[in-house]
């Protein structure tokens, strides 16, 4: 009996230690390179300001926008999200539009990788052309600091907080950029993202500034 009690007690202590180790695990902290001075920086405010539309499959948990937008209720797409964004240049003028289609990534591994979210961006500069961006983001720091305390422990948001979540899939933990049409057709490159989360509540992000820094390389094409 004593042996069983000791083993069970040890099991509980060991499991608690394991959870603590995962919580403070340095292997799951993203460490992307900082943006360069010559990168093309585009910013957006979310959800108010630059989110033309936002929908997802998290019924009743996150707010969708605008009212009446179709939710992603089918089981095959319930883990996905779609954001349609106006991206602004350094002067604050609309410079591009982005459709950001994302879903949880099978790369997610809470011991070695973190909580990985994969986004596929379609980004268009009206009158110039389009490009694709494949970006994996490690959301583990945000889950620890935002989602768990605010959603599950009912604590107030302790922000603002800044995140650099980009975790590949390109070299150096950068996102991959591929030209699609117009003057971007023959271009390739990479990108990193930066978030400043000012307010987070029970319905999700209430005030966030997102930035994407694009580094394009290659010949500029003359035709799409």
């Amino acid at each position: 009996m004593k042996l069983t009690t000791g083993f069970v007690l040890g099991l509980l202590l060991g499991a608690a230690g394991g959870v603590a180790a995962l919580y403070y695990n340095p292997l799951t902290e993203p460490d992307p390179p900082p943006p360069g001075d010559t990168d093309w920086a585009l910013t957006y405010r979310f959800p108010k300001g630059d989110a033309i539309a936002f929908t997802h499959g998290a019924h009743g948990r996150l707010a969708a926008h605008p009212p009446g937008i179709e939710e992603l209720w089918e089981s095959t797409i319930g883990g996905a999200a779609l954001a349609v964004l106006t991206l602004r240049d350094a002067a604050g003028a609309p410079a591009a539009f982005a459709s950001r289609l994302g879903a949880g990534s099978p790369r997610t591994d809470l011991l070695l990788e973190g909580a990985v979210w994969s986004d596929s961006w379609l980004l268009t500069v009206p009158g110039e052309g389009s490009l694709f961006v494949r970006a994996d983001s490690n959301l583990w720091p945000f889950l620890k600091e935002g989602v768990v305390p605010v959603w599950y422990l009912q604590r107030p948001w302790q922000g603002p907080a800044e995140y650099r979540p980009t975790a590949g899939p390109g070299t150096g933990d950068r996102a991959v950029v591929v030209g699609a049409t117009g003057r971007f057709a023959a271009l390739e490159g990479s990108a990193v993202e930066h978030y400043r989360l000012e307010r987070f509540g029970t319905a999700g992000a209430e005030a966030l500034t997102g930035e994407i820094f694009l580094r394009l390389e290659g010949q500029v094409a003359a035709a799409p």
Binding site: G18, L82, G127, F132, A223
Partner: protein
């Protein structure tokens, strides 16, 4: 007692770490892929979009025509855009059996070298597929409907196929992620319109017929 406690701690600690590593945290439901092998090599797969049921959002410059009407209300492009020729459309996508399997974005713009269109298809259980093509002329669907007898503000029913990619030069598959990461190929885009409501809402099916083959990784 002490040995049992230590053994328990070890097993508990290792078990949590192993679980965190091995548990399939992300496992999107997947339907069987409706693909077929084509005679000259490659894999054929058709993605369908039913209109209006699968439309999630759309908005564009007024000059682009019927499809530019903001949907749903409140999803308009910012007024600073002015008359820049741009159209963004978002849909749910279905397999050949009509089952919803993913979501898609389509952007169209009039670039210096001519119109251009690009698609991103995301199937959560399989990855993303990127498509690009020389886009259709502005108001291409509107023009075809007018030729078929449709009048602005009036209901129209019929059968009209409008090919937006593939008629002269097929669109190209630029690449993708996960299952689609090493694929290239071509695609055709056909809008099979069966009706237009008095408010201009289209009824019908968009078919994306893809032929993919292995290529260099994206």
């Amino acid at each position: 007692m002490k040995a049992a406690l230590l053994l328990g701690i070890l097993v508990g600690f290792a078990g949590v770490l192993a679980g965190a590593h091995l548990y399939p945290w992300v496992d999107h439901p997947r339907l069987p892929s409706r693909t077929s092998v084509v005679a000259n090599g490659g894999r054929a797969e058709t993605f369908l979009i039913h209109l209006p049921a699968d439309r999630i959002q759309s908005a564009g410059a007024a000059a682009v025509g019927l499809r530019a009407t903001a949907y749903p209300a409140g999803a308009e492009l910012p007024p600073e855009l002015g008359d820049a020729a741009f159209l963004a459309e978002h849909f749910k996508i279905r397999d050949a059996d009509g089952q919803v399997i993913g979501i898609a974005a389509r952007h169209w713009t009039e670039a210096d070298g001519g119109p251009a269109a690009a698609w991103t298809l995301l199937i959560p259980s399989r990855g993303a597929l990127f498509l690009a093509a020389s886009g259709e002329a502005a108001r291409r669907v509107d023009t075809a409907l007018e030729r078929a007898g449709q009048r602005a503000g009036q209901q129209w029913s019929g059968q009209l196929d409008v090919e937006l990619a593939g008629a002269e030069v097929p669109g190209r598959i630029v690449g993708g992620s996960e299952e689609f990461a090493r694929l290239g190929g071509t695609y055709r885009e056909t809008w099979k319109i069966t009706g237009v409501s008095p408010s201009g809402e289209l009824r019908g099916t968009i078919a994306l017929d893809t032929i993919t083959a292995r290529s260099a990784p994206l």
